[in-house]
């Protein structure tokens, strides 16, 4: 029974987040690195957010909103517009798995 639950959890987890962080890194190197850093941990300007260690679904939501224009930012819209849904998931997987000062705080 216990093995069954573990197996079920593993299947669910692997299906739920089938994103590819390495593919995300390849996009980050070309598109995001100049402002956020390749790993998203050391942005070049204080206005640019740290992305490393952020929740992947929040990163994906932000990129989707920039792409659609719901979150109005001319610079980010330009970068987000060409990204596919899969690109966004892969970027979210890449940045969320990197280390930075970002952490949960009450």
């Amino acid at each position: 029974m216990r093995a069954l639950i573990v197996a079920a959890a593993w299947v669910l987890a692997s299906n739920a987040w089938a994103a590819d962080p390495a593919a995300g890194k390849a996009i980050a190197e070309k598109v995001c690195a100049a402002c956020h850093g390749v790993d998203g941990a050391k942005p070049v300007a204080p206005e640019n957010p740290i992305l490393a260690g952020q929740y992947p679904d929040y990163i994906a939501k932000a990129l989707s909103d920039y792409k659609s224009g719901k979150r109005a930012n001319p610079v980010m819209k330009g970068f987000a517009e060409p990204l596919s849904k899969k690109d966004i998931e892969n970027l979210a997987a890449w940045f969320s798995s990197q280390q930075s000062t970002l952490h949960f705080q009450r």
């Binding site: 942005p43 300007a45 204080p46 206005e47 640019n48 957010p49 740290i50 260690g53 952020q54 929740y55 679904d57 929040y58 994906a60 939501k61 719901k70 979150r71 109005a72 930075s100 000062t101 970002l102 952490h103 949960f104 705080q105 009450r106």
Partner: protein, 110 residues
Amino acid sequence: MPLRSLLIVAGVALAAPVFAQQAAPAGDPKEAHKKIAMCEGCHGIAGYKTAYPQVYHVPKLGGQQAAYLANALHAYKAGQRSHPSMRGIAASLSDKDIADLAAYYSQGHK
């Protein structure tokens, strides 16, 4: 140079670019302790997800860049960002409140 003068000079040097940019009040993380109650209900619960209008984790704020956090709150307050709860909360914040909260979260330790 006596230490006190040195500190004043350093303080002015640090503060000057901030004031030159947007005359933003300096944030005081200690002042923020009186104001974080309204943030904690969502951002203070590890792994919390907002359910409306979409389901996703509310972002981690600890250690984020102060200028980014302040800009985000100002954008919610101005209606440029659309999350309903964040708009309502940001609308109640003064420029000083926003600076204090940005200082609190950006300087947070793990």
